[in-house]
């Protein structure tokens, strides 16, 4: 495993291009494009204000930089560096900006979610979409880029509109039986749209592409409901994580629950492996504590850690959430399937330092990873069943069915890994710290 040197970035804005060749980072108001393999700076663009959001177009030819405070979006071309495009939303303000799947339209959501403006870079034409809903995930494009589903709210009722991304033609518009629609997501095969309600009501509605309601699922009433929803890459399963610390799996044929994964504080009676991160502090003698050592090596304070396998039964530390606060820190907030749909990784918010890995073939717990501090981010390798996670310290953790490993990121000045992103080939990782980024190249097996 090799680590690159550390580069500066701001606002955690660092994205790899969809074709995997370039790495774009934002440093204050500059956009830096590097080559992924050599990390040499290929292009440097300057925006008018501090960049709030940055994204690649789907064909990796253009990058949009949004500056929400100024209400501006600037688009840069990789092929023609002198090409420029500036979209000014004017007094209406800007809250979010994104590319359309064809990479030629930009969708800007105005302040207060008054409307969505669709700017065309081909024809400079403008279209408007009214009454978009301000919710957790109100807009989703299907994976093949043909359709866009948008949540709308009119007259205190929730609607879903399906647009054809080709010409923004409204294909279907239907009301949903939700109290307060919180999010929607297309299945990877683009034929089913999952729509879920806010946490006050546990309800998942499944709509076919042509707007027919296929099925409704509700596990229980009254208690706080759905916290997170994700599809498996094969579109076979829909995993729903809820505030009752359980994950329910629905199957795509009958849309009924086929499995329920629980996250108890005491793990017993499973064939799962329990990995616990154990820190080993290097023994430092008093005579070694010279000034030179301290200045040179913060590695002195970097504790080594490794994983140990603990026999069951095992207790996982639980942090009880404050009952008086809204959106309590309890329940399954993150769900991620591996690319072959074989594994599901979950995180329960009141056991923030544990990551649970479930085997979808056996429908049982495969492994539990307990870290020394709260898990910040985890992501599956896009090519193979390998999970990378980070907990805000200077280490990178990897789990695969063969085992677990903890790797120290060798940087001076203490690089705290706060989030990570895999490269589309699965050969490298982008590690983001507070103001820094670092690339990690995996060994080619």
């Amino acid at each position: 495993m090799n680590f690159s040197e550390v580069f500066k970035q701001s606002n955690q804005l660092c994205k790899l291009s969809p074709d995997g060749k370039y790495l774009a980072t934002c440093v204050q108001y500059r956009l830096v494009v590097r080559d992924v393999s050599t990390l040499q700076i290929l292009q440097l663009y300057t925006c008018l204000d501090q960049i709030s959001h940055m994204d690649w177009s789907s064909d990796s030819l253009f990058i949009l930089c949004a500056m929400y405070k100024r209400g501006l979006v600037q688009v840069w071309s990789l092929e023609q560096p002198d090409w420029h495009c500036k979209i000014d939303e004017g007094s209406i303000g800007l809250v979010s900006s994104r590319w359309s799947p064809d990479g030629r339209h930009i969708l800007n959501t105005t302040e207060f979610h008054l409307r969505i403006t669709v700017w065309s870079l081909c024809t400079k034409a403008v279209s408007y979409i009214k009454y978009p809903k301000a919710c957790q995930k109100g807009l989703d494009f299907s994976r093949d880029g043909c359709y866009m589903a948008l949540a709308e709210r009119r007259d205190c009722k929730d609607y879903v509109s399906i647009f054809v991304c080709d010409d923004w033609h409204l294909l279907r518009h239907f009301e949903t039986e939700t109290q307060d629609l919180a999010g929607l997501e297309w299945s990877p095969n683009g034929c089913v749209l999952a729509v879920w309600d806010s946490c006050l009501e546990y309800k998942v509605l499944l709509y076919s592409l042509d707007g027919r309601l296929l099925s409704t699922y509700s596990a229980y009433e009254w208690s706080l409901g759905i916290k997170s929803v994700t599809w498996s890459p094969s579109s076979q399963f829909l995993a729903i994580g809820s505030y009752d610390e359980k994950v329910r799996i629905l199957n795509h044929i009958t849309w009924k629950k086929i499995a329920q994964f629980e996250h108890p504080a005491t793990i017993d009676n499973t064939k799962a492996t329990m990995f616990k991160e154990v820190e080993k502090r290097p023994a430092v003698g008093s005579d070694e504590m010279s000034l030179l050592n301290i200045s040179v090596g913060t590695t002195l304070f970097n504790t080594q850690s490794k994983y140990e396998i603990y026999p069951l039964p095992v207790q996982i530390p639980v942090v009880k959430p404050d009952p008086d606060r809204a959106n309590p820190k309890i329940g399954i907030s993150v769900l991620a399937f591996s690319s072959d749909s074989r594994y599901l990784a979950t995180k329960n918010d009141n056991m923030a330092s544990a990551v649970w890995v479930w085997d979808m073939q056996k429908m049982s717990l495969e492994a539990v990873l307990e870290q020394t501090s709260g898990v910040r981010c985890f992501q599956w390798d896009p090519r193979r069943p390998r999970l990378a996670l980070c907990t805000g310290n200077s280490k990178l953790y990897l789990w695969s069915p063969g085992g677990c490993v903890s790797v120290q990121v060798p940087t001076e000045g203490g690089f705290q890994v706060q989030s990570l992103n895999w490269h589309c080939s699965g050969d490298s990782l982008v590690l983001l710290g507070k103001e820094q980024l670092c690339l990690c190249y995996m060994d080619s097996d």
Binding site: I87, D88, S91, V126, D167, H169, P328
Partner: protein
């Protein structure tokens, strides 16, 4: 005195005989006896012996009698009293007995009542406990609902606050916009438009495009359903196969068991039916594969599986019960024999196992010896192979024969192909020849026959030889002929070297005597041709005409050399 005391005793006892006690003879004895009797009663003695007179003291006797009578009366009175007392006490006793029985009964009744009451108390206590549990549960439920309400309330409040904040922001923004005179409009500033991602021109939104979108959408859905259905069909087929396999296995197990249990009459009839049904079902399974999608076939399969499974289960249960009975040893006569045979069988099997183990052991030892024994360098490879030697020889011989056969086949194949090629060429040549011959037949009619006749035969042979030596020679000659025919006149085309043209040739020959105008022309053309082919100057002339056909010129050279 004893005599007297003894003898009158029975008289005393007998109350009816009163006078037998005292007679004239035993007066004294009687008196002394009476004294003795009276004294313990506390009465004065009736007779004093010392008086010496045997005369009776009448006063004393009368007193004594009076006393005795008084005593008697007293006795009677006491007796009466006692009897009364006794009666009283007996009635008391009866009374008491009655009361005790009554009280006992009462006690029993009250005991029973007591137990009943205890029982009720216990039940009530249980009920109280369960009600307490219910109450606890309800309290918990209430608490949970209260918690839920509280969390929902916090969530609502949070949302309200958020919405209020947003509302405030909106109000501020509205104020700002009203105050702000200059309104910043939306604008896009692009250096130049970029092409579409797919390079196509965008279309107007018309009904046609809308319909197209609808169509595409339904196509996507349909293809998804299609793939899913296909997957499900495959899965179904797999499962069906598994079920069939299971059924076959079960049927085979049951039928084999049936043969073993033929002695058991109880099962016989049942199994007979089962076997009949099994046969029927086994026969049907071949049909079932055909009617894969038929609902009835599916139901039949699952039902038959269930039936077989139940039978197998019953059978296993029966076996289990038999085994348990055998262990208990109730039915000795029927179980003794199987048990003995079973034991014999066991022993035999054990012996067999031991023998096999020994055999394996010895084999292993030999093998070890083989591997570990240090042989000579030369002998080792030989010895190593000696086990396989015979096999190897046989295989080698077989291989040889196969190789020979293969070469033979190859040769034959080659010969066949060559023969086929040759045949085709010969045929072509023959056709050419025939055409040529016919043509010359026709030409023979002309005055230029004598010079050609000799050459004709040679040409034929030339053709034949060329065909044999160089199969491709015919082709350039064809081309030559053809190009000449092009240049000369259209009619020689009819003299092409295909079999279909022979009919044309005959026709032309028929026509020739009639149509004499065309004759010279034709003749000329053909004369040219013939001169081209059959004169000695052919190569040079040929070269002039067709420089590219060097190959054919070479051939002609050859022909010339070989034939002429």
């Amino acid at each position: 005195m004893r005599q007297f005391s003894q003898s009158p005793l029975p008289l005393h006892r007998n109350p009816y005989v009163l006078s037998a006690f005292c007679t004239e003879h035993n007066v004294k004895e009687c008196l002394s006896h009476l004294n003795q009797e009276v004294l313990p009663l506390g009465l004065p003695p009736v007779w004093a012996e010392s008086g010496g007179s045997s005369e009776l003291n009448v006063v004393a006797v009368l007193n004594c009698m009076y006393d005795l009578i008084q005593l008697h009366h007293k006795g009677l009175r006491t007796l009466e009293n006692m009897e009364v007392e006794q009666l009283k006490s007996s009635s008391n006793v009866e009374c008491l007995q009655l009361t005790t029985t009554r009280l006992k009964e009462q006690l029993e009744v009250s005991k029973r009542e007591n137990t009943g009451l205890l029982e009720r108390e216990r039940q009530l206590q249980l009920k109280v406990k369960s009600l307490q549990n219910c109450l606890k549960n309800e309290k918990e439920e209430v608490q949970k609902l209260q918690n839920i309400i509280a969390s929902r309330a916090t969530q609502y409040n949070h949302e309200m606050k958020r919405k209020e904040r947003e509302f405030n922001k909106l109000k501020e923004r509205l104020n700002q916009l009203l105050v702000d005179k200059k309104e910043k409009k939306q604008a896009i500033d692009v250096l130049h438009s970029i092409g579409r991602a797919d390079g196509k021109r965008s279309l107007w939104k018309t009904e046609k495009t809308e319909a197209k979108h609808e169509g595409e959408m339904y196509k996507t859905l349909l293809s998804d359903y299609d793939t899913r259905q296909r997957e499900l069909v495959l899965e179904n087929a797999e499962l069906r196969k598994v079920l069939q396999q299971m059924k076959k296995d079960m049927v085979s197990i049951l039928s084999s068991r049936k043969a073993a249990l033929k002695s058991d009459k109880h099962d016989h009839s049942g199994l007979q039916n089962a076997s009949e049904e099994d046969e029927e079902e086994v026969f049907d399974s071949s049909k079932e594969s055909v009617e894969l999608s038929c609902v009835h076939a599916r139901e039949k399969l699952t039902n038959s599986i269930r039936l077989q499974w139940r039978r197998l289960k019953n059978h296993v249960e029966r076996l289990d019960s038999q085994v348990s009975l055998a262990q208990i040893g109730e039915r000795k006569n029927t179980d003794a024999v199987p048990r003995e045979t079973h034991e014999e069988e066991m022993d035999r099997l054990k012996l067999e196992i031991q023998q096999c183990k020994d055999f394996i052991q010895s084999q292993q030892q030999l093998l070890q010896q083989q591997l570990s024994c240090p042989c000579d360098e030369e002998a080792a490879p030989l010895l190593n192979d000696c086990f396989m030697l015979q096999e190897k020889n046989r295989l080698r011989e077989e291989w040889k024969t196969i190789e020979e056969q293969r070469t033979i086949f190859e040769r034959e194949r080659r010969n066949f192909t060559e023969a086929a090629i040759r045949l085709s060429h010969e045929r072509k040549a023959f056709e050419e020849d025939r055409a040529m011959w016919l043509k010359h037949q026709f030409l023979n009619l002309s005055p230029f026959t004598d010079t050609k006749k000799s050459a004709l035969s040679k040409s034929k042979s030339a053709f034949l030889i060329s065909a044999e030596t160089d199969p491709s020679a015919a082709l350039p000659l064809d081309n030559v002929m053809k190009c000449h025919s092009d240049r000369a006149s259209p009619t020689p085309r009819s003299v092409s070297l295909t079999s279909s043209s022979t009919a044309d040739l005959y026709r032309t020959f028929c026509l020739i005597p009639e149509n004499s105008s065309t004759k010279p022309k034709r003749k000329n053309g053909q004369a040219e041709e013939s001169s081209i082919h059959f004169s000695e100057n052919v190569p040079i002339q040929y070269k002039h005409w067709n420089d590219s056909e060097e190959h054919s010129s070479n051939v002609l050279f050859e022909d010339k050399n070989s034939s002429i």
